[in-house]
């Protein structure tokens, strides 16, 4: 079974893709978003070895449903070392701005279980 959070993301994505392909250029912005989210979902596989995809925090914080601006800002803090957890600094420094944007777009679509 897909958890509710994934289902939601999945639906969003499917909807965006459908609209993107049917309505052509009018919704190319939405298609771009879908592409970004898809890239973010792919990249998120690296995060979920530590951060649970369902938003449960048993020692590593949940990163689901963060506003994408907050998300991007936080990752930049790690990148510069303003937040200095070595594990996350290593993660953030290996990501370029496009990747951070994609991840932010993806995680923003996920809703923690029970919300």
């Amino acid at each position: 079974m897909m958890p509710a959070s994934q289902l939601l993301a999945f639906n969003l994505l499917a909807a965006a893709m459908l609209v993107g392909s049917v309505a052509g250029f009018a919704s190319s912005a939405r298609a771009d978003t879908a592409k970004l989210v898809r890239y973010g979902e792919h990249l998120s596989q690296e995060c979920t070895t530590c951060h649970r995809r369902d938003g449960v925090d048993n020692g590593i914080p949940s990163i689901l449903g963060m506003k994408s601006e907050d998300f991007e800002e936080t990752l930049k803090y790690y990148k510069t070392g303003a937040r200095d957890n070595p594990a996350m600094v290593s993660v953030a420094q290996s990501l370029d701005d496009d990747q951070i944007k994609a991840l932010g777009a993806y995680f923003a679509t996920l809703v923690p279980a029970g919300k």
Partner: protein, 451 residues
């Protein structure tokens, strides 16, 4: 079971026509037409294999994914040292395959005994036969008992290595500790490189020493190590001196003394080293040299003890239909760890999805992080990301704990360790939340969360 090599395959195709040769091409075509699904068989439901099965099915629900795993319960090696130290209950290490089944993966609890690489069929001890378009192997390690003279598989029932993925070694180690007299000697024999989980044996030493210190404080832990140096050595050495000075006797090989075992005598309960040192013991944990799990050799993809892979894809260099991940591969400089196996598995998933399901392909990303608990609330970590360069996986962004660090930092590491265990298990076995999260969506706060 016969294993065809690639030359035989060529002959077969030459003789019998093109039908065989296009077996995989056919089902790729079939998928494009929306009919029969392409088949992926995964052997080994551990860190590498369970991850591959989970993410393949997630990435393309139409794929026919079969996971062949010998055991109904996966009893993780990672985290098991904490059980020995009394920081985890044994049951918390054990996990089932319900989540993967529910996700639509065919989980088969059988033991794979052969691969016909020409016909693309896996055979099992139970008589099962599974055809594939792509095969993924993640069988973990097998133990080379003969590398410790006098040590055998049979003796390991009494004095375990507790290094394969199975529950029995760990509980036997615990029984040995419990049966030991206060004032007795526990002997530990360390492996030579390369081996599964470089810091694992030293975390185990800390956990055994912690048990002895709290339950049998007059006892000794004598460590015999064939190496001259080991993983996270400065921080482990700091822990040995800080917490276990009266318990641990560390014998690291140097230019004068060679502490490689020359004889292990289970009856006399005595170990002799190359340099002539003799250790009488009450309990012992012997960790011999290792090699890739048997099925890798049977599939014809091993080069000596391990499997050679293309570091960009984890495709076997000997057979392009076979991907191999995890401990059984040579993935230098990525360490053999559960984290690495999980990370490599995701790269293989992207390869197979691009190949069989025509999904968009993104560049491979590899990462490892390993935490080790050295004493209550004192946990150290090491990690890096890796990228394929000149036939190797080169580390970047490396970090490692340092001696003399703040206690708060070490305690935070322990919280992460517990969180990671839970995270990777969820990720491997497609578990989902029963409980609501403890915290709301966080806002960025650099000052509040330093360290």
């Amino acid at each position: 079971m016969t294993t065809f090599n690639r030359r035989d395959f060529g002959k077969l195709v030459g003789g019998a026509g093109a039908g065989l040769a296009t077996a995989s091409g056919l089902s790729t075509f079939a998928i494009a037409q929306g009919s029969a699904a392409a088949k992926v068989v995964v052997i080994g439901g551990g860190c590498g294999g369970a991850t591959v099965a989970h993410f393949l099915k997630k990435g393309d629900p139409k794929l026919d994914v079969t996971l062949i795993e010998a055991n109904k319960v996966y009893s993780s090696s990672f985290g098991s040292n904490l059980y020995l130290g009394g920081f985890r209950k044994f049951e918390t290490l054990n996990h089932g395959y319900e989540g993967l089944r529910a996700a639509g993966i065919k989980v088969v609890h059988q033991y794979a005994t052969g691969v016909d690489t020409a016909k693309k069929v896996v055979k099992t001890k139970e008589g099962g036969s599974y055809t594939y378009d792509r095969l993924v192997l993640s069988p973990g390690i097998a133990i080379k008992y003969e590398t410790v003279p006098g040590y055998t598989k049979e003796i390991s029932n009494q004095f375990p290595h507790a290094y394969e993925t199975s529950g029995v070694g760990k509980t036997q180690l615990m029984k040995l500790m419990e049966a030991m007299p206060n004032g007795g000697t526990f002997a530990m024999v360390m492996p030579d490189n390369p081996y599964r989980c470089p810091p694992g044996p030293y975390e185990r030493a800390c956990m055994i020493a912690h048990y002895l210190k709290t339950k049998k404080p007059k006892s000794k832990l004598v460590i015999l190590d064939p190496k001259k140096a080991f993983s996270k050595q400065p921080v482990f050495t700091e822990a040995f001196n800080k917490y276990y000075k009266d318990i641990i006797e560390m014998n690291l090989t140097n230019d004068i003394d060679d502490f490689r075992v020359s004889m292990f005598d289970a009856k006399a309960k005595e170990i002799t080293t190359k340099s002539g040192k003799k250790v009488k013991f009450d309990a012992a944990n012997i960790i011999p040299q290792q090699r890739a799990g048997d099925i890798a050799k049977l599939a014809g993809v091993t080069d000596k003890d391990w499997v050679a892979i293309n570091p960009e894809t984890f495709q076997s260099t000997a057979n392009k239909d076979i991907y191999v991940v995890g401990d059984s591969t040579v993935a230098a400089e990525m360490p053999k760890s559960g984290f690495s196996a999980n990370s490599q598995g995701k790269v293989v998933v992207a390869e197979i999805l691009a190949d069989l399901s025509k999904k968009e392909k993104f560049p491979a990303r590899y990462r490892n992080t390993c935490w080790s608990l050295v004493a209550p609330d004192d946990c150290i970590k090491v990690g890096a990301n890796y990228s394929a360069k000149e036939g190797k996986l080169a580390p970047e962004g490396s970090f490692v704990s340092k001696a003399g660090e703040d206690a708060g930092l070490r305690k935070q590491n322990y919280a992460e360790y517990v969180g990671w265990y839970d995270g990777i298990i969820t990720d491997m076995f497609a578990k989902t939340a029963a409980a609501a999260p403890k915290k709301a969506a966080p806002a960025p706060a650099p000052a509040a969360k330093k360290g």
